[in-house]
Symmetry: C5
Amino acid sequence: MTDSLKTPSAKLGLPPGSLIHVGDVLETETRMSVIDYSSGHLEKTNISNIDDILKYRDSDSVTWLTIEGLANVEIVQRIGEIMDIHHLVLEDILNTNQRPKFEEYDDHLFIVLKCLLVDEDEDFDVSYEQISLLVLKNFVIMFKEKQDDIFQPLQKRIKASKSKLRTLGTDYLTYAILDSIVDQNFVLLDSLDETVTILEDRLLDSEPTKELLHTIQKLKREIVAIRRYISPARELLSAMLRSDSALIGDSTHLYFRDVLDHTLRVIESIESYRDILTGLLEIYTSSVSNKMNEVMKVLTIFTSIFTPLTFIVGIYGMNFVNMPELKWSWAYPVLWGVFIIIPLGLFVYFKKKKWV
Amino acid sequence: MTDSLKTPSAKLGLPPGSLIHVGDVLETETRMSVIDYSSGHLEKTNISNIDDILKYRDSDSVTWLTIEGLANVEIVQRIGEIMDIHHLVLEDILNTNQRPKFEEYDDHLFIVLKCLLVDEDEDFDVSYEQISLLVLKNFVIMFKEKQDDIFQPLQKRIKASKSKLRTLGTDYLTYAILDSIVDQNFVLLDSLDETVTILEDRLLDSEPTKELLHTIQKLKREIVAIRRYISPARELLSAMLRSDSALIGDSTHLYFRDVLDHTLRVIESIESYRDILTGLLEIYTSSVSNKMNEVMKVLTIFTSIFTPLTFIVGIYGMNFVNMPELKWSWAYPVLWGVFIIIPLGLFVYFKKKKWV
Amino acid sequence: MTDSLKTPSAKLGLPPGSLIHVGDVLETETRMSVIDYSSGHLEKTNISNIDDILKYRDSDSVTWLTIEGLANVEIVQRIGEIMDIHHLVLEDILNTNQRPKFEEYDDHLFIVLKCLLVDEDEDFDVSYEQISLLVLKNFVIMFKEKQDDIFQPLQKRIKASKSKLRTLGTDYLTYAILDSIVDQNFVLLDSLDETVTILEDRLLDSEPTKELLHTIQKLKREIVAIRRYISPARELLSAMLRSDSALIGDSTHLYFRDVLDHTLRVIESIESYRDILTGLLEIYTSSVSNKMNEVMKVLTIFTSIFTPLTFIVGIYGMNFVNMPELKWSWAYPVLWGVFIIIPLGLFVYFKKKKWV
Amino acid sequence: MTDSLKTPSAKLGLPPGSLIHVGDVLETETRMSVIDYSSGHLEKTNISNIDDILKYRDSDSVTWLTIEGLANVEIVQRIGEIMDIHHLVLEDILNTNQRPKFEEYDDHLFIVLKCLLVDEDEDFDVSYEQISLLVLKNFVIMFKEKQDDIFQPLQKRIKASKSKLRTLGTDYLTYAILDSIVDQNFVLLDSLDETVTILEDRLLDSEPTKELLHTIQKLKREIVAIRRYISPARELLSAMLRSDSALIGDSTHLYFRDVLDHTLRVIESIESYRDILTGLLEIYTSSVSNKMNEVMKVLTIFTSIFTPLTFIVGIYGMNFVNMPELKWSWAYPVLWGVFIIIPLGLFVYFKKKKWV
Amino acid sequence: MTDSLKTPSAKLGLPPGSLIHVGDVLETETRMSVIDYSSGHLEKTNISNIDDILKYRDSDSVTWLTIEGLANVEIVQRIGEIMDIHHLVLEDILNTNQRPKFEEYDDHLFIVLKCLLVDEDEDFDVSYEQISLLVLKNFVIMFKEKQDDIFQPLQKRIKASKSKLRTLGTDYLTYAILDSIVDQNFVLLDSLDETVTILEDRLLDSEPTKELLHTIQKLKREIVAIRRYISPARELLSAMLRSDSALIGDSTHLYFRDVLDHTLRVIESIESYRDILTGLLEIYTSSVSNKMNEVMKVLTIFTSIFTPLTFIVGIYGMNFVNMPELKWSWAYPVLWGVFIIIPLGLFVYFKKKKWV
Ligand SMILES: [Mg+2]
Ligand SMILES: [Mg+2]
Ligand SMILES: [Mg+2]
Ligand SMILES: [Mg+2]
Ligand SMILES: [Mg+2]
Ligand SMILES: [Mg+2]
Ligand SMILES: [Mg+2]
Ligand SMILES: [Mg+2]
Ligand SMILES: [Mg+2]
Ligand SMILES: [Mg+2]
Ligand SMILES: [Mg+2]
Ligand SMILES: [Mg+2]
Ligand SMILES: [Mg+2]
Ligand SMILES: [Mg+2]
Ligand SMILES: [Mg+2]
Ligand SMILES: [Mg+2]
Ligand SMILES: [Mg+2]
Ligand SMILES: [Mg+2]
Ligand SMILES: [Mg+2]
Ligand SMILES: [Mg+2]
Ligand SMILES: [Mg+2]
Ligand SMILES: [Mg+2]
Ligand SMILES: [Mg+2]
Ligand SMILES: [Mg+2]
Ligand SMILES: [Mg+2]
Ligand SMILES: [Mg+2]
Ligand SMILES: [Mg+2]
Ligand SMILES: [Mg+2]
Ligand SMILES: [Mg+2]
Ligand SMILES: [Mg+2]
Ligand SMILES: [Mg+2]
């Protein structure tokens, strides 16, 4: 039951709700960790058996369970049994090609989001991780595709005994998690900004090469993908704000509105970069044309200067018996005058046309 | 009454509701098969006379009747009489140029969808089959244009005696059918992805040929068609979710929402491919320009190197009596120096301009 | 009172509701015909005096009055008096630059539509006819700009004594008329499809001529006009479906929904053709660029082969006294070797660059 | 208090509601004229003192006051005092950069519109005049930027004692005024149509000059401006139709709907012209490319014919001692044959490539 | 606690509501000034300790506190304590990458806007300042990023003892502040108009240089940014008009509607400039093509005139023994005739093709 399929189409013909992991396997091992806290109490442990969560299920403290790595399908299935989760939800958790969405059930909320991470050292390579959240009364279960440090600052804040988090419920924890994910987008925007600036400078300074074009197009496509993953978050957060679920306290609404605000800012910035890249493409295209124009001018100047001169020297290379000029002793020096005057005249003409 | 017309316009002037098959005939024979099941019972037979369905009509078990091939109009008409279906619905079933849609009647639902199939072995050739569904209390009638294996996995699941399907009604069967159809789109997306990747590689590696352009345009057009057939499914499923028909049980809503989710993912992917193809077209156009630029440079380099040299040799080919250089014995070797220096100078100039 | 003005602006300054025909006069004569029917009764006559309709006004049978040709303004005015129609409606009937629309009055409905006809024998020439309908309790008045056979099939169906039409009211007749008009659009789509296919073949086979460009642009513009005339029909039919006028029976709603369905299909097809034409234009533009590229290559090959050779022959055409090669007896044959080797070398170079 | 500022930004820092004329001064003098009428009474006078309107204020007859020229701010201020108008409304009247809009106050309506006038004799030069209307119970005050004849036909109709206008209130007068303004747009459309047709013919017949491009762009920009001024009128009239102000009688609604209809027609036509101009621009661009292609062909033909010939004659201009052909007496005539055969061969080649 | 971070992403991992200034520091010092007024009273002072505002908090007069410079975070935090403001609001005030927005709280309103300032002396360099407003019952707190003179005219109006402002509450003061900010946009539009006009003239007069292209693109991008900052103001003002907060009096609604009106005008103008810049780009692109066409013509004319002549002179430069023309004494003069006739013929040909 730990099979993993690469594409949704591979699942063709299986009964709905079949629990099989669909998508690239980013982590073969599954790590499970629990943070259980209340104002006066904090416990942080890694667990190896999923049934260990049973003891946290009915306590009043807030429990945050993190599952990193989705290849072990049995864990997800067992969580479904313990927490009484619909098998369609479990299926969505295991399929990492999900659209970001928010679903409200009687006793839990289901949230799917994409976390966009950009490598610090490389040329704007974005990696996408799907994060699913099950929000219950005193329990938040987070499913991640791989192990990383995104939530370390948040965990540190929980550990601080005077933290606001410690006194509040799962709704505030959910907010803090969403906020951490959306904040990653600002890192991405900074990196995008830097990449576009460099691209722009290269476009202004150097030749319009095929590589430059491919970089622009690659970036344009990356932006289309980013937009596709981020923009449903607007919908998701609006739905959360509209929801009247008992699992979201009134005082937490303000916080979700703040995350929505951040999301809107990110989306608008992404749109701006699309416009900017369209502009860069127009500059590229014009550069190629300008370049060709320049080449054409050089060709035309050479041709128009030397073609008439070559004709003239051809005349006096003819072997006619009767060519009086040939015998005139000033002919050759006078011709040199002509060889100087014609290019000068053409130079003036091209100067006037602003070709040189 | 088994006439078949190719285009809607051929039906011009016929009274509304005239039962005539409109569209390409994909199957001249009509095959009828029945699956009748309940939790403790399963029957699967092919029938040759449509009146054979009468015995299933009033039983409590779920009956799934599949009609493959629409050329035999009498069958559709007889079903209409037996099940009391409006003749406009029958007409829509027989016209395979339908838009995907959902219609709610007092005692039945009517659903039209397009099933998109892509040939595995060929260059992204998409074939479109219209599938119509009549959903009654204990009866689902499916009309297909041709015989194929799309629903074989579903039928296999029904046969399994412990299948969830066996205990549920026609609404869940309808969901399972829609799910099977939408799943085909993921196969199509995989094939599209492969086609676009190949196209992209060819664009980067080889010359920008006219054939490449036509392939891009053909694909772009195919995507417009795909989008046109798939995107109304969003509307269709939203209408089903909004519907308060007694034929759709509350617990099945979650399942239809899941199909809608898949459809949204497909539509968004299709949109992305449209953007990608626009990008490929821009690369193509730029490649042609870059190519021309390169040709122009070669021409200009040849011309600018040899034109001045040809002028110089022309000078000393002149037949003037008074040309002192001609008699100077170092003249010819010196000229060879000039023949070497001029191209070298131009080479430096072109190097600086990054033409070579 | 039979004045006719060509453009709306010509009516400038006239009081609103002035009854003057505005638009091209497509028919100078006005033909009036009446079909009066009920389940057991049918009468079809041409009338010459509009007051002849008075006898049909108060009978229970359905009366369908057709006015073909709008130049005779007195007829429209007299109908307004007999049927008590608002003068703004009469004005709209007489102005053939109307937008398709639906208006609901206390005791009648007013519908304006465009009927698009395409000549069978010619190159996609579309003609537009405005058709106005006044729908009263037992009376339908249809105003057409010219005489044609669009409604002949419908009239034939009425004549059939067992026709469904004979037992139903003016709402069903209205539906049948709208259906006849919308069906014409499918003829238009067939013709458009054929035209575009031919255009496409010409684009692939032959040179990109200026004529081809103009044909594409002409078609693009025709599609913009078609879309402009057809797309308000969607709004019109939606408004009819929303209407709760007593003049539209509940059972007729299904039929109007069917016409709306057809209209949506037509609009979507038209949109697709716009995309296709944009694609053809892109192919055209690329063809011109490819063409130029090809010309440039020929030019460059000729120039680069012969320019160096011409320089070489020029060298040995110089008249220097001291040119030892001239006297060497193998010089000339060796030079011929050079004349063969240089083009061969360049040929290999161009072959490698895929220019030849 | 008769200051006038050119741009809105010049008013920076002034208290809101400061009465200063903002915009170009189209008329330095202010003309005031009054038409006062009821079914049995008509009075038409010019007034020089604004306080003269006091006697009309409380009478039951309809009074139409026209102010032409806005430079005299005191008049607008005094009207505000007499009629008790909000100072923000007065400010809007005096700022001629207003967006068309409709505002409903307790005892009056405020309407701002743009009237678009096109010079008959010139190349589509559109002038824009702002017209503001204050509609009170028995009083309509119209503010115009300049003196012209737009409303002369309407005034003539009022003078006719049997006119419908004479028996109706200020709502109908308002309608008649709006109708007159919207009718001007049809004149503009006729002129635009003519201009575009001429432009199109020039594009097909003559060279693609820079002037032609600028004319297309100028027209495109004019259309953007026209659309910007006309399209808010749709909103304006919809708001009037939705309004339940006692100042607009039920029977007048039909008339406002008619004006809305005309406005929609105008907007759609304007949109079409935008599409047409985009098409013309595409034709222009293609013409330039075609042109260049043609020039390139001529260049290539000349070069490829004469370059090999020049090489050949160069060969026999060489001064080698050992060149046996030079002494062969048929050599020269045979060479002439070559001079004829080579161009013929190339001609056949170019013919095959469809270059000539 | 006076740390300042440059980008939102730098705040990654901090608890929500952490008070840290995010954005460029435009002013290191913080200036605080108070204007306290009622109809009979006016006080204007600078304060150095934020606790000085305590005495104004509970008085009935209107107090307008201006904080210029956000680097001193403690001030914002203390205001939050004094006025009981949510820490998310304080956080938004300190983050100057905010989207313009309006938020309604129980006892205060929160408004964020961007103020766009354009340098008078330079090439359309726009600077953006974020202005946040906290509107309480008798208190308005304004946070600005830097010190400037935008509100000096407004302050002058307050000082005038008969000013309307003096008798009205904080809602009217809020309006006056918003109006001042929106008015700055008209200054920007004037500057933009001037810049575009100059750009256009340069495009028509001079060569299409790379610099010109970059200026167009830079302006296009600036307009995208301006639009992004201004267009949310429409939403903001609509939300204020819909709000039923007790803090906005009924009579002030008219004033906010007026500001919305101005904003709509600004947005529409900005849209127009985007269209105009697209047009300029099209002119630029066409200019480059036209230019190349012109160069090509010159090249072709030179080549086609001199290539055949050079061939002819080459013929008579050949050294064949048997060339009878060489001895004919009229040959040379006749050839000169040919040298004149050929160019003349070509000139006529090019004249006909309109190349010269
Ligand atoms: Mg998307
Ligand atoms: Mg944006
Ligand atoms: Mg944008
Ligand atoms: Mg933007
Ligand atoms: Mg844009
Ligand atoms: Mg853009
Ligand atoms: Mg579609
Ligand atoms: Mg999308
Ligand atoms: Mg996308
Ligand atoms: Mg897209
Ligand atoms: Mg896009
Ligand atoms: Mg794109
Ligand atoms: Mg339209
Ligand atoms: Mg469509
Ligand atoms: Mg489309
Ligand atoms: Mg489509
Ligand atoms: Mg499209
Ligand atoms: Mg397209
Ligand atoms: Mg393009
Ligand atoms: Mg606008
Ligand atoms: Mg339109
Ligand atoms: Mg349009
Ligand atoms: Mg249109
Ligand atoms: Mg269009
Ligand atoms: Mg178009
Ligand atoms: Mg924006
Ligand atoms: Mg606009
Ligand atoms: Mg605009
Ligand atoms: Mg626009
Ligand atoms: Mg435009
Ligand atoms: Mg464009």
